[in-house]
């Protein structure tokens, strides 16, 4: 309980999602300025050719707008910044103050247009795109929100850790909504590991681990499964912070209190896998299959462990069941294909792996498995092509991982890769 209290207490200290106006403006202003290329900074400080009267008018507006902002007269500040940027459309700082003030006034549509303007002025700076994405997130335009947040992440947001965390958290939420729970969990794990302690993050962890595509804001105080989601999230949060003993305790209590709730045993099994407790994990996955008879991933987890431990035949039935239950799941065809390969059924293996390739053409592992199968089948040219595709996609995946979010996998075939910011465990 002390731990729960401490999280609640700490959450009040960290302005995670709702920044005070001046704080956000300051942070973003600083972020933008620090992120500007030197040439852009020079441009920012060098006024364009204007008449003395226009210059005086602009300087007055700027001064008045700054004073109004600093005094907390936000509506007045917004109006003055609007006039100032109209007078000097390339005034980057002005667009920024205007956009962030609009954002903090919950005027997301206009804020989005303003950030877009700022982004156009600074095509090599990530923060405007990120903020544009955050506006779109607020407006429910999730596809564009994802596009712009990722664009901003790739460009970089300088050394602004707070903005970086907000960006990562929202990217995680968007992944959660898309149903990419594994990648979302990776993002949330990274935030927890960075010692972010916030109720929304814990709820997000819970949603991802229980594979519920909702936003934390939707898990209201009176939401039916809130307690279950929160406790699962807390266990995941603790695990991500390397507090394994508390995480184990939390999970043990969770499965005791909610032994039949869908998703709980699967999440527990995943946790036990990370703790190298394979036997416990298999037992949990089996319970999940009892609780959720159509759970394909629980079957694939067990099948994969058999495959990994060179007992491929023992995983065949489960993999086949998973494929039948969820024929559009590329992972199922991939695991089944590899099991068939290991049991000597090369032709069938190729069939399954080619299906996996159709469903997930950019998955390097599928091409790798196919190259091995083609070699055994004597199809050298296809093997060579598959190998080249693997090398290309693998390189792209490594480069993408180096830039930011690592794509999560339901089956962690590389235990070290599964935890991008963690030590060896």
């Amino acid at each position: 309980m002390m731990w729960l209290n401490s999280i609640d207490a700490e959450s009040k200290l960290i302005p995670f999602l709702s920044y005070p106006v001046t704080a956000l403006a300051l942070i973003l202003g600083l972020a933008v300025f620090c992120s500007l290329p030197a040439r852009a900074q020079q441009r920012r400080t060098r006024p364009t050719t204007q008449t003395p009267g226009a210059q005086q008018s602009f300087d007055q507006l700027k001064s008045q707008a700054d004073q109004a902002r600093e005094a907390g007269r936000l509506e007045e500040a917004i109006a003055l910044y609007r006039k100032a940027v109209a007078l000097r459309p390339k005034w980057v700082e002005g667009w920024w103050y205007l956009a962030t003030l609009l954002y903090d006034q919950d005027q997301y549509a206009e804020a989005a247009r303003t950030f877009k303007q700022a982004a156009a002025l600074q095509p090599n700076v990530g923060a405007p795109s990120v903020m544009l994405g955050l506006c779109e997130f607020r407006l429910g335009d999730y596809d564009n929100a994802m596009k712009h947040i990722r664009q901003g992440r790739q460009l970089g947001v300088g050394n602004n850790e707070e903005l970086s965390r907000v960006m990562r958290f929202h990217e995680g939420l968007l992944l959660l909504l898309k149903g990419d729970f594994e990648t979302a969990q990776g993002v949330f794990n990274g935030l927890s590991y960075d010692n972010v302690n916030h109720e929304d993050l814990i709820i997000a962890h819970g949603l991802a681990s229980l594979r519920i595509p909702m936003l934390p804001a939707q898990v209201t105080r009176d939401y039916r499964d809130r307690e279950l989601i929160r406790r699962a999230g807390l266990a995941e949060h603790q695990a991500a912070q390397k507090n394994m003993s508390d995480a184990q305790t939390e999970y043990d209590r969770l499965v005791a209190d909610y032994p039949k709730s869908p998703g709980v045993q699967y999440a527990y099994g995943r946790f036990l896998l990370a703790r190298r407790n394979d036997e416990g994990a298999v037992a949990a996955f089996q319970k999940e299959i009892e609780n959720s008879p159509t759970h394909a991933l629980a079957r694939l987890q067990i099948a994969y462990l058999k495959l990994r431990d060179k007992e491929a035949a023992a995983g065949l039935k489960l993999a086949e069941e998973a494929v039948n239950l969820h024929p559009r799941l590329p992972l199922g065809h991939y695991i089944l294909g590899r099991i068939l390969f290991d049991t000597g059924e090369t032709a069938k293996a190729i069939e399954e792996l080619e299906t996996a390739r159709r469903l997930a053409p950019n998955e390097p592992r599928v091409h790798f498995a196919l190259s091995r199968a083609y070699i055994r089948a004597g199809r050298k040219a296809e093997a060579e092509q598959a190998r080249e595709t693997f090398a290309r996609l693998n390189k792209m995946a490594e480069e993408a991982a180096a830039q930011g979010v690592t794509r999560g996998e339901a089956i962690d075939e590389n235990t070290e890769k599964a935890k991008p910011d963690s030590p060896r465990q």
């Binding site: 912070q241 507090n243 003993s245 190298r276 394979d278 190998r387 590389n414 030590p423 060896r424 465990q425």
Partner: protein
């Protein structure tokens, strides 16, 4: 003169049997070969200091290593042990040094480090491992020490002392080196040097990995550090080397390299290199001739796991374990990744046929390892030294331990059977093992083992009963080929059974081994023939050989006259 002393030593050792040699038991059941911990009796008191700090600098957990070599040509294998040392992240409170132990021939060793001048312990010499070889062909084995900082090449002066010739030789390979391997890649008769580079590292560049909540640090996965290219140095034959890393193709790929073994995977007479990488695909550098290597790890099937992922490769070795005439490969990985025994499919591809080794190593992390015929039945067996790199691992995961057991596998018709539990009490204990080297320390014809532990004393294991089978030891003396005869192919027939062995170089982790070759004869009472195909192309066919003794074979001249008969006695 050197040869006479060698013969005298062997004769003496066989006559007085300084370490009690178990005799074959009567009855039908043959007792298993075992390994006994003789560290205490040996007089070796040196302990590895890993310099472990709160900051958990990665080099702390990667050492140390050790070497068997006969530095004074007295016919007995001496031991060199590599410690940590001063660096940009470590200032030892008391001096730390490497140690050279002279084998007294009676089961004990004497520390001769100071006289020899091989203590290291200077700034920039945070030690990893070493590799011994006579790089200048003067008949005295030299020593190359790898460090986090700057490597050191010690020239053996032949009088019990060594001289640091690193600068003149040009082989410092700064930053962080791990394993080193002497081999002759261009068959010019001189030993060249491959040096594995690990990650780009500096104290200021250390990354926080651990428990942010408690501020407690663990050792990072090497993935968070940048890779580096390894080094290949060509021996110019005048005491200097040329860095040919770029033009040879070795530097065309960046890795995080640990173990390396020189072997010939395609039987073309050119030595190739298999290099383990941590969180990067393993490298298989195929020697294309004319000083060029091509990296074929992916295409050959040894680069990635069966799932297409990179692993944490650490120790490696090569041998022809199934007697089909083609070199197979082995790599040890971190827990959950299983170790791989790569069978050579004779077309530049390999398939992982680990068999029993896979499941047995699921929870283990392997470093030092060696194929060696510990029971002299003629085929290569395998010993594995293990230990998790992170001392905090038990806080995070269940079932995986920091200290781990050694494992011994016997080769039974090409299948490796786990015989650890019947091979001595030592296999029931756990160690933070890193380097592993093998040698016949008591010249009794079976191979003993040295394990170097991280932050703990080493263990010296005496083989008890390996010489119940018959054997013949060869000391190869090259004239035209490289001084270590790396790349020589030894073929022998005993009891109608033909065996073959390629003399590889390197292997294991941070270690090098007894350069002599012990040919296991099993129960055969005689050895019908031995053929040595030297890297130069010369072939020596030997007959009428004695057994259960060592003989010296000179390239192009065969066994030194009169020696074999003397040894039979």
């Amino acid at each position: 003169m050197k040869y006479l002393s060698f013969v005298a030593v062997i004769a003496l050792s066989l006559a007085i049997r300084p370490w009690s040699m178990p005799q074959a038991q009567g009855g039908s059941a043959t007792p298993p070969v075992t390994f006994m911990d003789v560290t205490k009796a040996s007089g070796i008191t040196w302990t590895h200091d890993n310099g472990r700090s709160e900051a958990r600098h990665l080099p702390e957990t990667c050492g140390g290593g050790g070497v068997f070599f006969d530095y004074n040509n007295d016919g007995w294998m001496d031991i060199y042990l590599v410690n940590s040392g001063p660096s940009d992240f470590y200032s030892p409170k008391t001096p730390i040094r490497n140690a050279l132990y002279r084998n007294n021939g009676d089961g004990t060793f004497t520390d001769v480090t100071e006289k020899a001048g091989v203590a290291c312990g200077q700034m920039g010499q945070f030690g990893m491992g070493a590799a011994a070889a006579d790089f200048d062909g003067d008949g005295w084995v030299d020593l190359y020490v790898t460090n986090y900082g700057r490597n050191v090449l010690f020239h053996n002066n032949g009088d019990g002392t060594f001289t640091d010739v690193t600068e003149k030789a040009g082989v410092a390979a700064p930053n962080w080196s791990t394993c080193a391997t002497w081999f002759d890649y261009d068959n010019d008769g001189k030993l060249d040097l491959f040096v594995s580079s690990f990650v780009q590292y500096s104290a200021s560049g250390n990354v926080f990995c651990g428990d942010n909540r408690l501020g407690r640090r663990y050792y990072c996965i090497p993935r968070v550090f940048k890779p580096r290219a390894s080094f290949l140095f060509h021996n110019n034959g005048n005491g200097t080397f040329t860095d040919v890393s770029k033009e040879s193709g070795i530097a065309s790929v960046q890795g995080k390299s640990f173990g390396a073994v020189a072997t010939d995977i395609n039987n073309d007479g050119l030595m190739d290199l298999f290099v383990a990488n941590d969180t990067v695909a393993n490298f298989l550098f195929i020697n294309k001739g004319h000083g060029k290597f091509e990296e074929i790890g992916l295409a050959s099937g040894v680069g990635y796991s069966e799932a297409g992922g990179t692993r944490s490769g650490m120790g490696v070795d090569a041998t022809d374990y199934d007697g089909d005439g083609w070199q197979d490969l082995f790599v040890a990985n971190i827990d959950q990744e299983l170790f791989s025994l790569y069978h050579n499919e004779k077309d530049l591809t390999f398939t992982d046929q680990a068999g029993e080794i896979g499941p047995a190593t699921r929870l283990l992390s392997g470093w030092g390892l060696k194929f060696f015929d510990y029971d002299n039945d003629g085929d290569p067996d395998l010993i594995l030294a293990n230990g998790h790199p992170d001392d905090m691992v038990e806080v995070q995961v269940s079932r995986v331990k920091y200290k781990e057991p050694l494992l011994l596998f016997e080769n039974v018709n090409g299948q490796f059977k786990n015989v650890s539990m019947q091979s001595g009490e030592i296999f029931k204990k756990d160690f933070p093992a890193r380097g592993l080297a093998v040698a016949d320390i008591d010249n009794d014809g079976d191979l003993d083992v040295l394990v170097i532990n991280n932050g703990a004393p080493p263990i010296l294991l005496r083989n008890e009963g390996g010489n119940r089978n018959n054997w013949l030891g060869l000391q190869l003396v090259a004239k035209q080929s490289n001084p270590a005869a790396v790349g020589a192919i030894i073929t022998w027939t005993a009891g109608g059974v033909k065996h073959s062995r390629l003399k590889t170089s390197g292997g294991s982790y941070l270690a090098s081994h007894d350069p002599r070759e012990i040919l296991g004869l099993g129960k055969a009472a005689k050895i019908e023939s031995v053929e040595i195909k030297w890297p130069s192309g010369k072939v020596d066919k030997l007959t009428n050989l004695p057994i259960n003794t060592y003989v010296k074979v000179i390239e192009g001249e065969g066994v030194v006259k009169g020696v074999a008969a003397a040894k039979v006695k």
